[in-house]
């Protein structure tokens, strides 16, 4: 509590969520803030839900937020946005990647994929932004850079200088894929 703020990054195993939240933490550290993050590994590569809480401020205690206490939700998968709305403050910002990843029950034909996640989120929250991050990532030159596109979009919501972000990103990717990731970040920032 106090001045601690919370970001929740959520999506599906294999989407690069853990790397994104690592980068985010290093940005907060570089900005001189205390930071903690928490996620659960183990099933991360097996297509299950993956969430990463990041909390920052002057002095952070809990690495996870309670319900109704998250300031920004970055959702890497459209439908999964709806799983985490109860973690958000009423005035929270929601960034939604419009990519649809079908869970097994949908592939089996046993359940419908809810197509209207963005509209549903807008019923309860004012600041909802949808981003075609997969498309932007492939335009940036690396279809796997979805996480960097979404970090770019997130950066536009946080009062941290662009140079700090780019400095951390430069240290986070090998030279071969760095240019595409820097481009993906910039595209996400203005998306």
């Amino acid at each position: 509590m106090g001045d601690t703020r919370g970001i929740l990054i959520a999506g599906v195993g294999g989407q690069g969520i853990l790397l994104a939240s690592d980068i985010l933490c290093r940005v907060f550290m570089a900005a001189g803030l205390d930071v903690k993050k928490s996620e659960v590994h183990g099933m991360a590569q097996r297509g299950g839900c993956v969430t990463s809480h990041v909390r920052y401020g002057g002095k952070v205690h809990s690495p996870i937020s309670r319900k109704r206490d998250v300031d920004i939700l970055v959702s890497f998968e459209k439908m999964d946005t709806l799983r985490y709305l109860d973690f958000l403050k009423p005035e929270a910002t929601i960034l939604i990647n419009t990519e649809e990843l079908y869970p097994p029950a949908v592939n089996l034909g046993d359940a419908e994929y809810p197509k209207d996640a963005v509209e549903t989120a807008r019923l309860s929250f004012q600041k909802v932004k949808s981003i075609d991050a997969t498309n932007l990532a492939s335009r940036a030159g690396n279809v796997r850079a979805v996480n960097t596109v979404l970090l770019g979009a997130l950066s536009a919501c946080l009062p941290i200088p662009l140079e700090t972000w780019e400095e951390v990103i430069r240290k986070s990717f090998p030279a071969g894929i760095l240019p595409a990731n820097l481009e993906a970040f910039r595209m996400g920032r203005v998306a």
Binding site: H41, M43, S62, R66, P104, N107, T120
Partner: protein
């Protein structure tokens, strides 16, 4: 002093390195795995994966007896496997130092139970430290080694998933130069635990416990934070931070050592606050001991017994306040359980087993996921190595009724962990069950760790890899076959043959994990469904392969021609996810599935 963002696990490894420990042994298991992986990368250390936790513990005990500062690392259920040596090394102590990391898993994020291993510290009479974040994780390892040396006792360091896998800022210290205190020393009275010696050591253990109880009163990491005297909370580990988050002004007794407890400090704290809580996940371990001191306290009366906590749970339990229930849309969402990867070599095997009307006694690994729809190819899972003994017991109990109908399945790493002795038992006691070893050439579930058959050590050195076929033959089992699970027809026949034979049979289903880069897993051209040929029979859907989806005609455009009155849709393969393993093509009876380029248009 440099600061770094570290997970609790990385911090434990760093702490051991900084305080001069150069020896560690463990077996991988979530949430503990990264401790060994991180420790192994430091210069000048010796670190090994043992085949199981009991061996790892004995290796660490041997090192500590020789005078080293040794670390043994495992997940909570691993301590069950290692419990036998631990109970008795508590009597002997060591000439060096022995710290045992137990990584518990409240909420069962990746485990078969959520046992509270603090109980072991009391049961084994071994002191236990419990850090609340990465900085403490690093600092407490050094303290644990110091206590181990000073009191001639093994020491537990307990982490939980939330501490192991959270990351927070850690101030690094320069590593102490390691001191070599190893030597061969003889002290049979202390180390030969036969009754006449063990009885004497038993008395020493109680003396040690009394000295540790005194030490706990002045231990630097047991500290009182007196603020508002209205409410005081006794807590340890990560729940401390949850409480500080929502109740920064309450008074706290933060315990760094959860066993033995500082009785005088607890009495003093209780006398300085009006209402006293014990805040702890899982068992009322501290609460019961506080009550035994005759102190009135609120614990499990308001806090849950099960699952990990979060700041919201702590807030609700103490203040009774629930945050305003938001007006959120009620939307039932399809679950997103973890699934076998596209191209997973387990998929074909469990597809077949699920359709054979056999009981499949399962084990711990990725393949455990195949109990779910649509594979439903695994019917029990208790603990590491249980599948083989259970299949044998079931087969014996069923007698004729079970002939050809009982299978045990186990992964390669799990087989080497604790499957060899039950397989020896099957040969010895004339079993009729079929055992399938799902050999994907690695410890896949925890992220590609080496094991005694991979040919490499934890530190990357080439080594002898055990030959499974010869090992099984040496146990006395003659009927051993190897099959490629990408070949459904051959695998089906091999399972049938194994079930029909009397006596024990072993089938090794061998293909590298599709994520295991070193083995260059198969990557073929993606497959595609020709909607004009697909008859909508849904056989391929039954594989539960992530790229294969069912498209109802109502969602398709243009709508393909119906091949029968009852056809409701067609299958579709996501080319970006497909690895080209070809299982779906083998199932397709209408020839609708083919490699991409071979379909016209």
């Amino acid at each position: 002093m440099a600061k770094e963002l570290m997970s609790g696990n990385e911090a434990i490894a760093r702490g051991a390195y900084e305080c001069g420990a150069r020896f560690a042994a463990g077996y991988p298991g979530t949430p503990s795995t990264e401790i060994m992986e991180a420790f192994a990368t430091y210069e000048g250390v010796y670190a090994e994966w043992a085949p199981n936790e009991k061996v790892a513990m004995e290796v660490a005990i041997g090192a500590a007896l020789a005078g080293a500062r040794a670390l043994a690392v495992m997940k909570h259920v691993g301590v069950n496997v290692a419990a036998d040596p631990l109970f008795t090394v508590s009597y002997t102590g060591t000439d060096g130092a022995l710290v045992v990391v137990t990584a518990d898993d409240p909420s069962l994020h990746s485990s078969q139970n959520e046992q509270d291993n603090r109980n072991y510290s009391k049961f084994m009479k071994i002191p236990m430290l419990e850090p609340a974040d990465s900085q403490e994780a690093k600092d407490y390892v050094r303290l644990a080694f110091e206590i181990s040396e000073r009191f001639d006792t093994p020491v537990f360091l307990r982490s939980t998933t939330r501490v192991s896998h959270s990351k927070s800022v850690v101030a690094l210290d320069p590593p102490l130069p390691p001191e070599d205190r190893t030597a061969i020393r003889f002290d049979a009275e202390k180390y030969v635990m036969v009754p006449m010696n063990a009885r004497k050591r038993r008395v020493e253990v109680e003396k040690r416990m009394r000295r540790l109880e005194e030490y706990a009163e002045t231990f630097s990491e047991n500290r009182m934070e007196i603020r508002n005297p209205g409410i005081g909370i006794i807590t340890a580990g990560i729940p401390y931070h949850y409480a500080k988050d929502v109740f920064p002004d309450f008074s706290y007794l933060k315990l760094g050592m959860v066993y033995p407890l500082p009785a005088a400090m607890i009495r003093e704290f209780a006398s300085r606050v009006r209402k006293l809580y014990v805040l702890e996940e899982l068992d009322p371990f501290i609460e019961e001991q506080v009550r035994a001191l005759g102190i009135e306290v609120t614990g499990k009366a308001v806090f849950p017994y099960t699952s990990e906590f979060d700041p919201g749970i702590v807030e609700r339990a103490i203040s009774g306040n629930a945050p305003d229930s938001a007006v959120l849309p009620e939307r039932p969402l399809p679950m997103r359980p973890p699934n076998l990867c596209p191209g997973c070599p387990h998929r074909g095997l469990f597809y077949l087993l699920g359709r054979m009307k056999v009981f499949v006694a399962g084990d711990i690994g990725c393949y455990t996921l195949s109990f779910m729809k649509p594979l439903e190819g695994l019917h029990s899972c208790i603990c590491m190595g249980a599948s083989i003994g259970m299949a044998h017991g079931m087969s014996k109990a069923l007698g004729e009724k079970g002939r050809g109908k009982v299978v045990g399945v186990i992964g390669d790493s799990t087989f080497l962990h604790s499957g060899i002795t039950p397989l020896l038992n099957m040969a010895y006691n004339h079993s009729d069950a079929l055992i399938v070893i799902c050999d994907n050439l690695t410890t896949a579930m925890t992220g590609m760790q080496e094991h005694p058959a991979t040919g490499f050590t934890l530190q990357g050195e080439k080594t002898t890899g055990v030959d499974l076929e010869r090992l099984i033959g040496a146990l006395g089992i003659e009927n051993v076959r190897v099959v490629d699970p990408y070949d459904l027809k051959a695998t089906r026949k091999a399972i049938r043959d194994g079930l029909e034979k009397s006596g024990p049979s072993v089938l090794i289903s061998r293909r590298a994990c599709v994520l295991f880069k070193r083995e260059k897993p198969y990557r073929g051209k993606p497959y595609r469904v020709d909607p004009e040929k697909c008859i909508g029979c849904r056989l391929c859907i039954g594989l539960g392969c992530p790229p294969i989806a069912w498209k109802k005609f109502t969602d398709a455009s243009p709508i393909p021609e119906r091949k029968g009155k009852k056809q409701e849709g067609v299958s579709y393969i996501d080319r970006n996810l497909c690895t080209g393993c070809g299982l779906c093509r083998q199932l397709c009876k209408s020839g609708a599935i083919a490699e991409e380029e071979s379909i016209d248009g």
